[in-house]
Amino acid sequence: MYDFSQLTQAIHLFLVQHLNSSSVAIVELVLVGLLFLTMYAILGLTLVYMERKVCAFIQNRLGPNRVGPLGLLQTVADLIKLLFKELLMVKKADKFLFNLAPFIVVIASMMTIGALPFAKGFQAIDLNIGLFYIISITSLGVLGILLAGWSSNSKYSLLGALRSGAQIISYELSVSLSLLSIIMFTGSMQLSVIVESQANGWWIFKGHIPVFISFLIFLIASTAETNRGPFDIAEAESELTAGFHTEYSGIKFAFFFLAEYMNMFLSAALAATVFLGGWMPFHVSGFEGLNQVMDFIPPIVWFFGKTFTLIYVIMLFKWTFPRLRVDQLLTLEWKYLLPINLVNTIVIAFVVVMGWYF
């Protein structure tokens, strides 16, 4: 039921009947490209709208409600406005690097979206090192941020970029180590295999307390890695204007903004895939009736439901906690999260070798 590979097979067979082999490949690549480009744009716009509404909800305001029904077209209107804005560049800036930075950020976020399993058979790139690939490509994003800050030749940008660099590379360690716990359980880095392994229960339930600890660490560390508040010292408005993208205007600024939201989506989706079962429905062994009802809900609804719940939690972090100082931020990572994570990894390795999990 609800298998996307049947749909892709049908499209493939239809194309094979009507076209020769080389044009089939091209048409399929174009279809995949259009699908993911549309999805990228829609997800980005949805997240910006959602952020504004959640912020308004917490601050007891209404949020956008004028453009379109319920203000749904507000972000589209803002995007069009940004397209019409002049692209400025500081006279003393490094011109090549200044223009290169938004490309790196967008490409890094785009390449990771393709590797996510959205539903059964709905995954563009299913590498056998999927999880490792995602970690490595997301860490390329920091290059874009550092280049943006450095090349702007502005004091605010440089400070923001350096802070952001120190923060992202620090928290990347915790992100990778907490994802390692699930790799030890499944014995595979392939995302589809990781999702399949959770058919009889999600890892957060199957792996006892150690996995729950690594889930919490992942949630904290990935919030910090995406530069979101309470860890947003990189673009602390009250002290650094806008951090590393102070000098960017128009659509280039929009790309930094978009990539930040897509990275937030990515980390929430990764947490949902690895710890909360991805598109797998909620199953309790022994309750066949409940399992039948849960199976009736399509996997894609499960995936986006889990992801957006986590995104909502990450947004609540931003709007409820005060911003951390840079020394508190680095203390939290190096003196708390990293040692806890190392010990937790050994505990999980022990659990896996002894076979003390369901």
Partner: protein, 116 residues
């Protein structure tokens, strides 16, 4: 098909960002003003170059990060074969982590983890 798709997603990112920037270039206003191309410093004319010295603390953290990042590259394949190898892998990772923890403890003792 996998490697083509990797290239495809690279090209998609390129098309999305490049296309929008080129499109924006044609419809945006082009009005030159000397103050617009100054670095933003809250309205005061900017002094000196920003490419100057900065806090050495960032550099220290980058060095410690490098140690742990290389460690993670080593540890991922270990995590994948842990189930098959069993107890020997557990003993080996204990030794490995002991050495790593020594490194972290040394940095801690030397106050490299303290932000000043």
């Amino acid at each position: 098909m996998q490697s083509e798709l990797l290239v495809l997603f690279f090209v998609l990112g390129l098309i999305l960002s490049g296309g929008a920037i080129v499109f924006s270039y044609f419809i945006m206003p082009h009005s030159f003003n000397a103050t617009k191309v100054e670095a933003y410093e809250c309205g005061i004319p900017s002094k000196n170059n920003s490419w100057s010295q900065f806090n050495v603390g960032y550099y220290l953290f980058a060095l410690i990060y490098l140690v742990f990042d290389v460690e993670i590259v080593f540890i991922f394949p270990w995590g994948e074969v842990l189930k098959e190898v069993g107890k020997p892998a557990l003993v080996e990772i204990l030794i490995f982590f002991f050495v790593l923890a020594l490194g972290l403890a040394y940095a801690w003792k030397k106050k490299a983890l303290k932000w000043e």
